[in-house]
């Protein structure tokens, strides 16, 4: 019986576990540096030079790291510089949104090597959606021939709460997907480990590792779309709550005298600044803006954003309203959790300052509390935040040695 089969195994450390964590520390340090010598690694991590040598030897063997050039002398022998081989391992990230499917091939530095996307109404057709995703994955992974053996696995971001460790979505949100096992299907087709999570959680992971929330112990990623969902990083780890349903920001009550929501509350964020109510607001306010550019028959978030960027008053009013209302919700979140950073994602964020300005103004009115005034709210720099995050899901599983190890080189030989 190995230690991992035993009770308390989650808490109990053995020599293996500590050795593993040490390898991670060293790898992480190389990752964070452009190039670094063994001696500097020893100084930076506190390990002895002999230990560093042993660990680096393994990393070289696994192909994760290479010796490149030699550094400048500090008065003695010149150091051998080590660098991360960014594409020695790659991950596939899949984003399944309400109205589209995207897929990206991502390397260890979060660089997108391939990317494909397609509009598709996924809500009621899970099987077709998975087929589309599989085709995309095949395109990303098989075309550049030698990539396959370096593939760590596939991550999937789903537009609903996901039970941890599975791909079961909350039936309340996606009834048609009940019983559909995305993980099992994709694992059967591609024979690599597959992981799934909520889209906002995935986005949070990506932003924390490669994006606007790097170095933040406490942060949130808020995805503004049909519904408003949040992913939290608390204490340096993704937080998903007791059953994995944390982040349902969309059902925060903003105005108890507002319109009713399916959840039983009135004036939820979803029924105020979700996509449908925002588009409705365009229609309702249309009459006050006679010379608007918006075509009410072909209304979409994309056209709304475009109009706002072109200076349309109605579009700016609606986007600004969304911003200031989101500000109230974010103020509540910051008061509760005292986060360092909030990253916004979703199509409407492409309106940039037209959204962020009113949002900030709304926050500044409440800036008395340092929990609010000393945190920063930014828009994700990456249009593919969720895709990247889904890929990150795989990487983090590998780094935590869940089902795969980034260190094992078994398949790399091929």
């Amino acid at each position: 019986m190995s230690r991992s089969d035993r009770p308390y195994s989650g808490d109990v450390l053995d020599a293996q576990a500590i050795r593993f964590s040490h390898r991670s520390v060293v790898l992480r340090k190389i990752w964070d540096s452009e190039a670094i010598s063994r001696a500097d690694l020893a100084r930076a991590t506190g390990f002895s030079r002999s230990t560093i040598s042993a660990i680096v030897g393994e990393l070289l063997g696994a192909g994760l790291v290479v010796e490149t050039r030699r550094g400048a002398s500090r008065g003695g022998r010149r150091p051998i510089l080590l660098e991360l081989v960014s594409d020695s391992r790659v991950m596939v990230g899949v984003e399944i949104g309400g109205g589209h499917v995207s897929c990206a091939l991502v390397d260890l530095r979060g660089r997108v090597l391939e990317h494909v996307s397609q509009d598709f109404d996924t809500r009621d057709r899970p099987q077709e959606t998975i087929d589309i995703a599989a085709t995309m994955i095949r395109r990303c992974v098989l075309e550049p021939a030698p990539i396959r053996p370096r593939l760590l696995g596939i991550g999937v971001g789903l537009p609903a709460p996901v039970a941890p460790g599975t791909s079961e979505t909350l039936a309340l949100v996606l009834p048609a997907w009940e019983g559909v096992d995305v993980i099992q299907q994709l694992e059967a087709r591609f024979r690599v480990p597959v992981f799934a999570d909520n889209d906002a959680n995935a986005g949070m992971r990506g932003e924390a590792r490669w994006g606007a929330a790097q170095g933040c112990e406490h942060a949130a990623f808020i995805k503004v779309a049909t519904g408003i969902g949040a992913g939290f990083r608390l204490g340096g780890q993704l937080f998903s709550g007791h059953q994995g349903f944390a982040g349902e920001l969309g059902h925060m009550s903003i105005d108890t005298s507002g319109p009713p929501c399916v959840c039983g509350l009135n004036g939820c964020l979803n029924v105020v600044v979700g996509t449908p109510p925002l588009l409705d607001r365009c229609r309702i306010r249309r009459s006050r803006y006679p010379d608007t550019l918006l075509d009410l028959d072909k209304l979409s978030v994309a056209s709304l954003v475009q109009a706002a960027l072109q200076g349309d008053s109605l579009a700016r009013e609606v986007v600004g309203y969304a911003g200031s209302t989101l500000g109230i919700a974010i103020a509540n979140v910051l008061n509760l959790l005292n986060l360092e950073r909030v990253v916004l994602g979703g199509r409407i964020t492409r309106a940039g300052d037209h959204l962020l300005g009113p949002l900030q103004a709304s926050l500044n009115e409440r800036a008395l509390s340092p929990a609010i005034s000393e945190s920063t709210v930014v828009i994700s720099e990456n249009d593919q935040a969720v895709c990247l995050g889904a890929a990150c899901l795989v990487l983090e599983a590998a780094l935590a040695e869940q089902r795969i190890s980034i260190f094992s080189k078994e398949d790399m030989a091929a």
Copy 2:
């Protein structure tokens, strides 16, 4: 240079750290059992019998554990049963509220060995408050003579956000306390380590270890008083946010069209169900309840609760209103964090079901989400939850080997 002085020390484990964590696991298991043998410890923890023997030897030496009776035979030699010595270490917990100071002597099982309390307006008189607290501590610790050498330290719960690792309170909430160093003053007087935290955070710690949130990885303790504050336990650890200000539930916006709050928002929880607005509600609604028992000249939470328990309609209306409004705020928190349990504290909770009933009803209206329907909200069973929690603060520091160790027996000899 020891490992702990080095960079990365937070993440890097050495043999010492793993040994320490193993001792904690074994101690914890004995703690959780009435009485347990070495053989059962080995089975429960997964360690070998030899390792258990070594660790138990240390625990015996530290006086934390004793061999008591012998257990029943399972077909062979009868086991020697080990038990925790509950009062081998004791802690003092101090609660400083807006209108009172309390102090308790607490043992390892969370039993209150001594308890004193006194009404006092602490807000504007920090120095007198500390003097009162010091007198109470002296009474608790010195009277029962042999206790002093077993005292691990003193914990203080303060009615404002506290910067982590210090006793600095947020000047915004307690201006008169700015620059007052409670930790330094009490350490100078008693020569034991002193720790401070926000009252709600302290309460959360106590409830998680000894109270209604035992075994919960994700929970909240909500203190309903002049202001409404929350302490969170997320992922098995207290969560205090980026600067230590997490938990400001009182400034959650409940009704954007409600009365204004100092924070800049309208309809904050504080201005709706804090003590002052609740007492105001009694006065405003008085005329509709001609035969109320409430004396408007001597209105207090205590008298409100008493009247509600005695069947007074006005009091029940006000308490019920508080409950259903708290329900909205708690629904928001549960949607965000998907907690397993919420524990309520503060004097008004003594109204029991008169508060909890409407609160639950308010939650049940939103029970569509499993994040809400599968969590439980309870009232703290302990009137001294914050005092106990403050004592717990010391214990947890000792268990984490911050400044003190529960294992060291240096002072115990005396």
